[in-house]
Symmetry: D3
């Protein structure tokens, strides 16, 4: 779905929660194969059984990619993704955990180089089935100003 | 391969370059299916033909995940990944582009909460076949100090 | 996204058009591997070069599954899918074609066994980039009546 | 394997049973990624644990595509698939169920537009490991007549 | 399909030819991800453009696995696969090549440890679209003797 | 990583052990889909429950491809893979088994046709988590002689 939202219309504090998705052993295998990272932390059940974690833990890049993917259902044609700040892996994710992503508009800034645009910061929190935050980051969008579009 | 490297042994300015990997249409389809992000920017050749880009562009999360994956060949058992800062999508990546990842040790810091550990910042640059930087970020590791291990 | 729509609220003639998706060689390979159907019509470029089609053609089950998948973005919690009627493969789909799905509410019927429900028929048309219909079917939903919910 | 079978040679009532195939969590993840349908019914174990089903249920389009795929082992060069009628999802399929497909030649008809062809209807029943029918449909083939070929 | 064939019934010199299958870029990416072998010979188009081969070449293990897979359509319940001898990679396989597998019963031997069984050697040749042999090996089966079954 | 090793530098008896990798149900499904081999031995849990094995067993070609893939982390630019001898499937591999690959330089031979090259035979043993050998083969490399390179 496409919904046009100008810079002025983003409201600090507004929140969205995604659907849930269970992280499966399949996702571990697909992500290893997709990225080439076959480190035993993700792929060797015997090795991880004896570790402090007690089992295989998800690739950080996977929880990031799927966590962001869960929010990808509305296209804003007047915005584009500029980057991410302060991406942190707060807790491990195990096979069978179910994650959801909560996004909160946390900041609005002028764009230093583009007066007709502004920057919108969306706080991203990926939660597991116990409502624990497992990953956080700040997603920065560059968004057209309505006044500029007028 | 496993190589133990303590905090003291990281040298500011030391660099590594990964092998290259061609980003294929398959990677686009796999990443969409892995993350659930089927936005037309990545999946609709007709729509993108008429866009300013002239063709489908890679998911940012994919270039990040594969770019980091290209560096995943040596395990340091006394380090763990803490997170990423200043992740930026500098240029679009198209089907058929070949990427490599250059990492440079850029900073060493005390860990505010763990005196026996330090933080090592690795500057990550993903390059395309024209040696243009397409993605940058700072990868932060927490690494054991040799003195603490002694 | 979840949107509750009762039987009474479906309007005959109302239409939706999905985003587009380019059908890639990857999709052919994934579908063959997913279903076990490796017939040369889908997998052997040399064989098909000499056929009346001039190239590999998509599995009918794939265009159906992806065509329906393109419409899967709003969940109606008071409806469920009952089945499909008159599924027809109207034109072949080739690697590189871009499909979209148009759905039209075409019929509303009493449910013979469930007085508190009704049946909604959605006409599904999968189109290619030339706006040609490549697949049609009637998707039958069983939907709660608002009066019954009251 | 290729076996030529003309319209006249199809016998009403003749049956075939496919091999079995266990439907895995992997198949669920692959089908979601292949079609873009990540609805929680298929992907969110926590959500479905509390539902009437007690667990994730397979996409209808997947059981159809795999159920038909199980029958794809003999090519008849004088037949092509015309479409499907009365496709119904009779029972849910869960992770770990094992399905097989039974096909029965159920009807033979003249082709209204092609006198040299006939229509053969194959009744398709997908069964689970308890011999319960989970999906049914009528597969319609258009088949050359031997007399026309002579 | 299941066909019982006893040791005595294998005829030296009898041949089968499989269907064809085009080896796609997708297969390269899937095989790398499946095995973890991302060597630039298979994955880096820029690197291989300048090599003696002029382009990416298939993993040997992939042509072996797919070449053998092409022959997997008849199950003999009185035989099992013992191993392979003299597996050789005769010519490189490129993206877009179409392979078929020709098998020839080449030898019949007593089984040294199982008098009620015999060994059947099947010569396997994988051919490309120019009828060049790209891979050969000897597939050794251990097969029940009919006399022993009687 | 690239490490140049000439024929003279290979030492008979030198060994390497790979990381471990747990063989998952996902790998079974991916391998079936990659090769087209959907035999019930690998795919039908009900059928195999009643067999002598008690459960689905891995494709031999998969354990070979993944077992070899586990060793693919150092490229020797003066060597190429010539083929494999005496590939044997010693024990079945089940879903959940964790494999590692041990390689031992076992033989050095003149190359009959290339005086500037030699043949190095690497004994490959794939082990499971009980340290049982499940697959063996001899990997034959053709390697440049240092004296020839001088």
């Amino acid at each position: 779905m496409e919904v046009t939202t100008y810079f002025e219309e983003y409201e600090i504090g507004s929140k969205r929660m995604s659907f849930g998705r269970t992280i499966t052993e399949t996702d571990f295998v697909v992500h290893a194969g997709h990225t080439g990272d076959f480190f035993p932390h993700h792929m060797d059940a015997e090795f991880m059984k004896k570790s402090e974690f007690g089992g295989r833990i998800a690739h950080g890049t996977m929880i990031f990619a799927i966590g962001i993917g869960l929010t990808a259902n509305v296209i804003n044609p007047v915005a584009f993704s500029y980057g991410y700040d302060r991406l942190r892996f707060v807790k491990p994710v195990f096979i069978g955990d179910t994650i959801r992503t909560r996004t909160t508009i946390s900041e609005k800034l002028d764009d230093p180089r583009r007066p007709q645009m502004g920057r919108v910061v969306e706080r991203v929190e990926v939660l597991n089935q116990k409502d624990e935050v497992v990953l956080v980051c700040d997603h920065i969008y560059v968004v057209e100003r309505r006044e500029a579009a007028a």
